[in-house]
Amino acid sequence: MSDQDYQPGDLYHQVVSITEEYLGPAAPRFVTRQVSFHLNKTPEELSIEDLPKFVEWAHVTFSLLTDDRETVNRYVAEIGQLATKPWPGAAQRNL
């Protein structure tokens, strides 16, 4: 993928895509709510720097939705991996 392919909101879509595996059609609403309530940002403004805080809150909120610790840890790990993923052009575009 080239730098030109990246658009604002790409990270948000990645987070939604992972969350969909757990929350199905409720995923976009869940992620948008977390981003807006805890990060005071719009989905497009979600950046790599926000991920640690997002993960922290995701851990808390997911624990309220399931008693299965393994599921919670797996979700948090998958979101956390986005922070270590190479994002071409991320520095320039503040992804």
Binding site: E20, E21, Y22, L23, G24, P25, A26, A27, R29, F30, R33, Q34, F37, H38, E56, W57, V60, T61, F62, L64, L65, T66, T71
Partner: protein
């Protein structure tokens, strides 16, 4: 580091929630008082009970029935509120229709009980046959509307899943249901009409009831069955581990509500057969049905509550 406290706002209520509870309480009081003050009940006549025995037996049925009413309304309202919370989403329309259907099933539950009591006030009156006919047919209408709405909602949800994965209704199930419907119609057609009862079972001529009661009931159950299969297919193919868990609870609740609504209707239709039973087994059947019906609505409530939590947790 400060402990993170999640925010859960489950306050988005359907605007008619309070009104629905007021109507239910009014109906509950009418049912309770109406039952206790009824001049002549089928049970008193059939089982020749003393007044104290009669009140005890009535209360042992009325109180659990009222509890099931409350559970049913609470479940339907939780689901209704959930449909309001997800308003604007692709699945909102389907969920909204199913919620409306559940509200009609609550109406069916209330109508069946209240109208049964009402008939007791018309024993010996020339209006009795008409009241019995209304008692038999009004719940059929509520049941048809309920299952039709649930079916409509289920179609919308089914359409959201990948068309390649969609499964149709199994042919063997349609054939099995056809055999059951034919057997029921035959059983009804050949069963003798009991004209000695102070309160007749059917208000209209026997043959007419076949078309105005039995067939619409059978149609309602068939629609309910198709709706259940659609919802199950949606649950199987929709994404989301936690979402599916919550949805599955809800689906089993809806399935058992549909099933026990059908069994309840079936028992009413075949009440001639059960009228020969003694009080003990008869009460046992009533209690088992009440408990299972209530459990179905409890599952609906738990599933809807979990789905709501997914939508509101912050």
């Amino acid at each position: 580091m400060a402990r993170l406290e999640p925010n859960i706002d489950e306050s988005k209520e359907w605007p008619y929630t309070t009104g629905a509870y007021i109507v239910l309480v009014a109906c509950g009081l009418a049912y309770l008082i109406g039952s206790l003050l009824a001049p002549q009940t089928a049970a008193t006549i059939a089982f020749q009970m003393a007044p104290a025995q009669r009140v005890t037996m009535q209360l042992s049925i009325i109180i659990p029935v009222l509890i099931v009413w409350i559970i049913a309304l609470r479940a339907a309202l939780t689901f209704k509120n959930y449909s309001r919370i997800i308003e604007g989403s692709p699945e909102a329309r389907g969920v909204g229709r199913i919620a409306d259907g559940l509200m009609w099933l609550v109406a069916y539950l209330v109508l069946t009980s209240i109208l049964s009591v009402a008939t007791q006030y018309f024993v010996g009156s020339s209006w009795l046959w008409m009241i019995v006919a209304i008692k038999n047919h009004l719940p059929v209408i509520a049941s048809l509307i309920a299952f039709f709405l649930i079916f409509q909602g289920s179609l919308t949800l089914k359409a959201m899943t990948d068309a390649n994965n969609q499964q149709g209704t199994p042919v063997w199930l349609i054939i099995l249901f056809g055999i059951f419907a034919a057997a029921l119609a035959w059983l009804f057609a050949v069963s003798p009409v009991d004209t000695d009862r102070p309160i007749p079972i059917y208000g209209l001529p026997h043959d007419v009831n076949l078309f105005t009661m039995i067939l619409p009931h059978t149609l309602a159950w068939f629609i309910g069955l198709l709706a259940s299969i659609n919802i199950l297919n949606y649950t199987r193919h929709v994404k989301g581990l936690i979402y599916r868990q919550a949805l599955r609870r809800l689906v089993w609740g809806i399935l058992s509500v549909i099933l026990f609504a059908a069994v309840l209707q079936l028992l009413t239709i075949l009440s001639k057969i059960f009228s020969s039973l003694s009080l003990g087994p008869l009460l046992l059947i009533v209690y088992v049905l009440i408990v299972l019906y209530g459990m179905g609505f409890i599952l609906v409530h738990l599933g809807a509550k979990k789905l709501t939590r997914i939508e509101v947790v912050q």
